[in-house]
Symmetry: C2
Amino acid sequence: MNQAGEIRPGGRTARTRAAVLAAVIEELTDHGWDQLSVESVALRAGVHKTTVYRRWRDKNTLVAEALKAAAESRIQMPDTGDIAQDLRELARIVRVLLTSREGAATTRALAGHSHDTAGVGQVLPVLWAARLAQVEPVVARAVARGQLPVGTSPDDLMKHLTAPLFHRLLVTAEPLTEASADQAAAAALVAARAGVFVPPGDGRAAAGMDL
Amino acid sequence: MNQAGEIRPGGRTARTRAAVLAAVIEELTDHGWDQLSVESVALRAGVHKTTVYRRWRDKNTLVAEALKAAAESRIQMPDTGDIAQDLRELARIVRVLLTSREGAATTRALAGHSHDTAGVGQVLPVLWAARLAQVEPVVARAVARGQLPVGTSPDDLMKHLTAPLFHRLLVTAEPLTEASADQAAAAALVAARAGVFVPPGDGRAAAGMDL
DNA sequence: CCGCAAACGCAACTCAAAGTTGCATCAGGT
DNA sequence: ACCTGATGCAACTTTGAGTTGCGTTTGCGG
């Protein structure tokens, strides 16, 4: 949670930092990026506006750092012994995250600013690399059990699993039902079994691909 | 292109309207939503600021309307006689759209504001309903040919086909390669064949689903 | 082709929020 | 207990959203 290289890691500094970052997420949840003002954040954090500006160059870097900190939570990875169930549970977990007010707001904020190379743009790759790394063992176990083709890319599988959920939240703005999560899991599973997520030339050839 | 109910549909009004909406898209492409100012838009459109405010209540509704107008372009639907090729071509078309500067910028703008019930939020459902309706015949032909299960939902198929592409643009901010488009098409095809996109209780039961 | 009203240009505002500066004060580590 | 970094505070500049009043242009109907 604490950034390396802090000059004074003691109580007050860390406390202020945490309070401000938390306040950013709350303001983001309540009013969205556009309506978020640094003054409101400072007020909510019980801190003066100049204090915020002394530590963060501008609004964008502030929000970017808050989003990064907020995304550092770990997900409890399922391990049921059956990849089909694992994937379904994973999809349901992601669905719950994305349907929470905070999760939806932060996700929209990230998506809407995935391009600004200075702020969120910097954070995105790091953030997702960490998340995807968590899935690796789940896929590895499934491959070991013979439930998935050798060489299946955990990254590709995870992305295709969650993509329809993000799509509903960000693109079509439809409600994220549990049925839609299950459908996403089923689609990803079938594709994975068919070897769609085995990079070409990796391990043995993809099976069942009569494309 | 022309909105119904215009009091004075004649030359100047329509010309101004088109110029402003086009200027919004250009500014959005060049500087993003946050940096977009009504004054810049007016300047670019060769129109005075007050003129803009007389026709559009505020910045959000202005941008929302511009996005809606920009999204009204039709896509050339493929019809190769083979659903696998149709889907791959569709994915590639979407990829090209999303990798264009304008397409990326407008998509991010939409995604980042999918919640504001007054502006973009109003537009999204209409917009996507129109797009998805275009795909219906492609799927219908494939079903008629026996290449896809009876009852396959064109909406679900199209969403799962494009979701990984949007995911790359909005969530992970990875480059949108043609290979990723082909992978998305392959995944969607396999899932569709397995009956993942056949609503429960619709037509005959899903085939090949040993979930 | 002429007049009327809608649409536009223009300037001058208000207001809110981004970001800055100088100085006084407080609190944490040695 | 001291010294320095961190904070509070007030006063500023600047930018952009959104508004208002008035004069001018332009399109459409007669």
